[in-house]
């Protein structure tokens, strides 16, 4: 057991030596792996931030009927009756022009400029939600309501939300695809790095075999090397992403204030970070194992 531990400790130390010496190729590999990981991670974060955003901004499809500003109470009641009878309408809420103004003043932080208007420019409105499982009902209602008396304008919201949701889905799939592709690239990078290492250490490997080293013994430092290279690349990737997120947030801070309540582009969570480093380390190990398995065979006695 202690011998096993000592063997692994030595292999780890060997691997660290090989990473440090020479340093430049290691640094280059780490940067290549880091950028390969940063790309899908950024895409994944973008998708997640968009999803959060669309969750915060009400994504329930709703139809808003804006009434003519000169509509009388009877005319308004007529519209309300038509809505109450309509099969596509689930809930109907009446928003007076005063409520709409107050809402605008508080939610969008436009208080001062609204007061400057002098008089309320907003109309009364009905806000209608559709029945569940009937996505086209509200569209039919919109087309019909547009011709009702005193309905100035019928607007179906949340189309943008659906588009956003679709974008998020595409973004997630793209991130996954990109991650798989770049995972292969990462494996290839370690594979090749280890291949070069093995070629550079032919004499040592050959001699090790002659003095009774097992394959596991010879393999181990290379595997640790791949593992550390992958993990290093993972950390580099996280660093690049953190830098990108910080830069983005500085650029966005003004714009996000306008949207209200949106806290900015969030970076990778601890679990994301751990997953990235873990997966990168695993792929590094895998690439090394493939390479060592393939290239050590030529040292067998004939």
């Amino acid at each position: 057991m202690t011998r096993w531990l000592a063997n692994h400790a030595r292999a780890l130390r060997d691997a660290l030596d090989r990473l440090r010496h020479p340093l430049i190729p290691t640094a280059l590999s780490v940067i290549v792996i880091g950028s390969a990981l940063a790309l899908p991670l950024l895409l994944h974060l973008a998708a997640r931030n968009l999803a959060t955003l669309s969750g915060q901004l009400d994504a329930e499809p709703q139809l808003t009927l804006f009434l003519d500003t000169n509509a009388t109470e009877t005319e308004t009641e007529a519209v309300a009756r038509l809505l109450a009878r309509h099969p596509a309408a689930s809930t109907v809420r009446f928003v007076t022009r005063a409520e709409a103004l107050a809402d605008l003043r508080t939610s969008a932080g436009l208080g001062g400029s609204v007061d400057d208007l002098g008089r309320n420019p907003l109309p009364d409105a009905f806000v209608v939600t559709g029945r569940e499982g009937d996505p086209t009902g509200l569209e039919t209602l919109r087309d019909e309501a547009a011709s009702w008396r005193k309905v100035e304008h019928a607007q179906l919201d949340a189309l943008w939300a659906r588009k956003l949701a679709a974008t998020v889905r595409v973004g997630r799939v793209a991130a996954l695809l990109l991650a798989s592709l770049l995972g292969i690239a990462l494996t290839a990078v370690t594979f090749n790095t280890i291949r070069l290492q093995i070629l550079g250490r032919r004499d040592e490997i050959e001699l090790s075999k002659l003095i009774g080293a097992t394959d596991a013994f010879i393999r181990r430092p290379f595997l640790y090397f791949g593992l550390l290279l992958g993990a290093g690349g993972g950390l580099a990737g996280l660093g690049m992403v953190a830098l990108a997120v910080a830069t983005l947030n500085r650029q966005l801070s003004g714009a996000l204030l306008l949207l209200g309540g949106v806290g900015g582009f969030s970076g990778p969570a601890i679990s994301d970070a751990a997953a990235v480093v873990g997966v990168a380390a695993g792929l590094g190990w895998f690439g090394a194992a493939l390479s060592v398995g393939r290239h050590l065979r030529r040292f067998e006695p004939s």
């Binding site: 090790s208 002659l210 003095i211 009774g212 080293a213 006695p301 004939s302």
Partner: protein, 217 residues
């Protein structure tokens, strides 16, 4: 300890390096393999260490059939050997100490135990003062002695030495022969390939002569 039984070796390309060679080496015995250049001495040592496999015949070491041994068993077989190579096979990217310590690393010695054994081995070949030097800075004879230190550092049961005195002057050669003889006296089995049987006369070994791959005496 070592049995060579009707062993033949034909390298790819059709040259017969060994033809029907048979002899045995007892435990604690020193045997000298002599013969002209190309007679097959190195080939025979490589067969015993399972670096090559015989084309025909059987080699056993300590009762184990080496010629049929699977690849998995070979590393453990080799740990019983100390190998002195005709071309030294020292690694030039590390110090003398780091070269000699390699067989101990393979078998997982602690750093402290390894260090004291390496120094003892270097002391025996008279190179303790050079432990930090790179082998590139050593003379041919000094490299040879480093190679011998590496071969004995793990106190192997069997020493297979290919031209261990090849690059040495008479004094150093005598020292190495004396060292090998001390080894033999504490129970090691020693098989030496050499042109220079004369240098070993002090140890009074049994001499086997090969000619063009065949046993002649």
């Amino acid at each position: 300890m070592i049995t060579i039984d009707h062993v033949s070796k034909r390298y790819p390309g059709g040259r017969d390096a060994l033809r029907q060679v048979s002899f045995t080496v007892a435990k604690g015995e020193m045997v000298l393999l002599t013969g002209h250049s190309g007679a097959g001495k190195t080939t025979l040592l490589r067969l015993v260490a399972a670096i090559e496999r015989p084309t025909a015949g059987t080699i056993t070491v300590g009762g184990q059939n080496v010629s049929r041994m699977g690849n998995r068993g070979i590393p453990y077989l080799r740990r019983n050997f100390g190998l002195v190579f005709q071309d030294h096979k020292l690694l030039h990217d590390r110090s003398v100490f780091e070269n000699v310590v390699l067989p101990l690393r393979v078998t997982g010695f602690t750093a402290r135990e390894a260090a004291s054994r390496v120094r003892a081995a270097l002391d025996k070949v008279g190179l303790l003062a050079r432990e930090r030097d790179n082998p590139v800075t050593l003379s041919g004879g000094e490299r040879q002695r480093v190679c011998i230190a590496r071969a004995i550092v793990h106190r192997p049961a069997i020493l297979l030495a290919d031209e261990p005195t090849g690059n040495l002057d008479a004094d150093n050669a005598r020292n190495i022969v004396a060292l090998l003889d001390v080894f033999r006296q504490v129970g090691a089995t020693i098989l030496v390939a050499t042109h220079d049987a004369e240098a070993f006369s002090a140890a009074a070994p049994r001499v086997i002569t090969l000619s063009a791959g065949a046993f002649v005496a």
